[in-house]
Amino acid sequence: MENRSLISISNLSKRFKVGNGEFLALKNINLSIAEGEFTGLVGPSGSGKTTLLNIIGSLDIPSDGTAEVLGKSISTLSHKQAAMLRNLNIGFIFQTYNLLPVYTVFENVEFALLLQKKTFAERKIAVMEALDWVGLTDKVKSKPSQLSGGECQRVAIARAMVKRPQIVLADEPSANLDAKNSHHIVQTMKRLNKELKTTFIFATHDEKVMQYLDRIISLKDGEIEKDEFVNHAKNE
């Protein structure tokens, strides 16, 4: 059975004002991403990866064309509706983890659920489950400053996953990690992708991440240069 499309982008362009002129960051992008994909937007710096990730994550809107995420047109969402979409359906993983330093691992992961007004019992179950996915149940009371970079990124994955989002957007998640940790966190995400059917979209140019992707969308100068599904038979 073919998976349903979560993200549908057609004829999308994004322009930015630069001085008196304009910079075309994305040109006529047409794209569809289905449920459960493990997709990467790859390309050199300035190719438009992060801009596209921003639009999919309802952090920005297209200049032309349409971007539908979970059936909602990003261009027509109010700030509140966009925030709601992110809160309920989209998880974010950043290059530099961005954990809240004064809070414990448990509290960092719990935060997304607080915004959803879940009860403490519900939050506790969900947080412990998310920390179990990333193997950090023994670190619930630790502060980010007491964790290694790899552990911080795993907390960030738990924070993104705890609300069971349909889409997780990860911008260069391995950029600050060594090879071992990079493999570890991508393997963790891959496992979650398979187990929970969560759609992962990466912006990356890290070969270590790319080898796990099911689909690689290559961007160059704001255009899709290549869009290919990868056969992992050789890796397995």
């Binding site: 992060t50 990730l53 921003n54 994550g57 952090l59 920005d60 700030h79 509140k80 966009a82 925030a83 709601m84 979409l85 992110r86 809160n87 309920l88 989209i90 974010f92 950043f94 290059q95 530099t96 961005n98 809240l100 004064v102 809070y103 509290e107 719990e110 935060f111 997304a112 607080l114 915004l115 924070r159 911008d171 260069e172």
Partner: protein, 424 residues
């Protein structure tokens, strides 16, 4: 969410310590100044009422116009009858008559020649009648530095500065020179029964206190006095009641054209007293405004620095789906929380210092040497119930204002650049 925010504020010292210190200092000074001003004003008002103004005061119309000259020739005649009538018609008041006069006193040496001489202001009050509250009203027993309260005719109390200036001891005699009610020159011998210090330079500088009967004899003021004063039996001034009584009293003489007709005025209607009554509230309001303004600017800047420090936190929260309005509200909430903690600490410290100031006071006699204002030489604070909450106005308001101004930055944050900003 509230618990989550509490934890953040408590654990993040950068978010709480400086603002709490600033708010505490502001609240502390507000409380101390409020109590101190209140104490000085209350004491000043009480002194003015007890020594000069009463809660209501009756003079002849002519005397009232020249009151600063203490013109005893314009005094009220028939005070005994008038006082009796007032006591009957207004039993809630203690009615007394007094005479204020200007005179010259002369201290002789051992052979009767003038050793020292100087001008004095005289207070003639009822010291001898049983049931008279005048000695208590002047707080004479507390004010006595040496000697005793006059117990018989021709005894007088001398103010401390005057006694020191002329090197006078209790028991010494002096001659009082003055003018009678008819304008003729009079003189009478008195002995100093005691030396008093009232703590107000305006009185201590040069005053004598004698019994009203002695003054009536010396100044030939039989059944006359320069003023009749009424004091609320409760001891507390009530402007509304005072106004009603004054209006009712004056109504009786409204049709009279006699410049010697008596006229009643309330404490607040007397020169400068309304200002003195209002000054306490005004000063407190000014201090609150100054502290709110100054602390808001400091806390606004602290908030801006905090926002810079928490730049990533707010970015992550926006990315996680928290609305800008919600983040702004949490900033305000944190402001209220920090403001309350800071104010509680500041109020507690302020009350402690105010208590010390209330008990010990601060000697300001040096500043009051040439003052004509009737103010206490030792300025004491007075802790009132309002001192407990007054600090919360500048404390919480400035913190909320500072946070609100600093928090506006959140609305300028563009979500489109979050990824870029959070990759630092």
């Amino acid at each position: 969410m509230i618990k989550f925010l509490f934890k953040g504020v408590i654990r993040d010292r950068g978010r709480s310590v400086l603002p709490i210190i600033v708010v505490s200092i502001g609240a502390m000074f507000t409380v101390i100044l409020h109590c101190w001003i209140n104490g000085i004003m209350v004491e000043s008002l009480t002194m003015n009422a007890n020594f000069n103004n009463g809660h209501v005061k009756i003079n002849t119309r002519a005397y009232a116009k020249e009151a600063s000259q203490m013109p005893i020739d314009l005094a009220i005649i028939g005070v005994n009858k008038l006082t009796k009538e007032l006591k009957l018609s207004n039993p809630d008041f203690d009615w007394v008559h007094r005479t204020r006069f200007g005179a010259l006193i002369d201290f002789p040496d051992s052979i009767g020649e003038t050793r020292a001489q100087g001008p004095v202001t005289g207070w003639a009050i009822d010291l001898f009648s049983s049931g008279s509250n005048e000695a208590d009203r002047f707080n004479i027993s507390e004010a006595l530095v040496s000697g005793k309260i006059p117990a018989k005719s021709s005894e007088a109390l001398l103010s401390i500065d005057l006694a020191q200036k002329f090197n006078i001891k209790p028991g010494e005699e002096f001659t009082l020179f003055g003018t009678s009610m008819d304008g003729s020159m009079v003189f009478r011998n008195f002995s100093v029964s005691g030396i008093v210090r009232f703590g107000s330079s305006a009185i201590d500088r040069g005053a004598i206190i004698i019994d009203i009967s002695d003054a009536q004899l010396a100044l030939q003021m039989e059944d006359a006095a320069s003023e009749i004063l009424g004091f609320f039996n409760t001891g507390k001034y009530n402007d509304e009641i005072a106004n009603n009584i004054a209006a009712s009293f004056n109504k009786k003489y409204a049709s009279s054209m006699d410049e010697f007709a008596p006229e009643m005025i309330t404490f607040k209607q007397q020169e400068g007293m309304a200002d003195l009554l209002n000054i306490s509230e005004t000063m407190s309001s000014i201090f609150i405004f100054v502290f709110v303004f100054a602390m808001s600017v400091v806390l606004w800047n602290a908030g801006l620095l905090g926002s810079l420090r928490r730049f990533n936190e707010f970015g992550v929260r926006l990315a996680l789906g928290e609305g800008k309005n919600h983040i702004y509200k949490t900033i305000i909430f944190e402001g209220v929380f920090v403001g309350l903690i800071g104010t509680m600490i500041g109020t507690a410290i302020g009350l402690l210092f105010s208590y010390i100031l209330q008990e010990k006071g601060l000697d300001i006699s040096g500043m009051m040497k040439n003052s004509t204002l009737m103010m206490p030489a030792v300025a004491r604070a007075s802790i009132t119930p309002s001192a407990i909450y007054i600090g919360f106005i500048p404390g919480v308001l400035s913190m909320v204002l500072g946070s609100a101004l600093a928090g506006i930055r959140i609305y300028k944050r563009k979500t489109a650049s979050l990824f870029k900003e959070l990759e630092v």
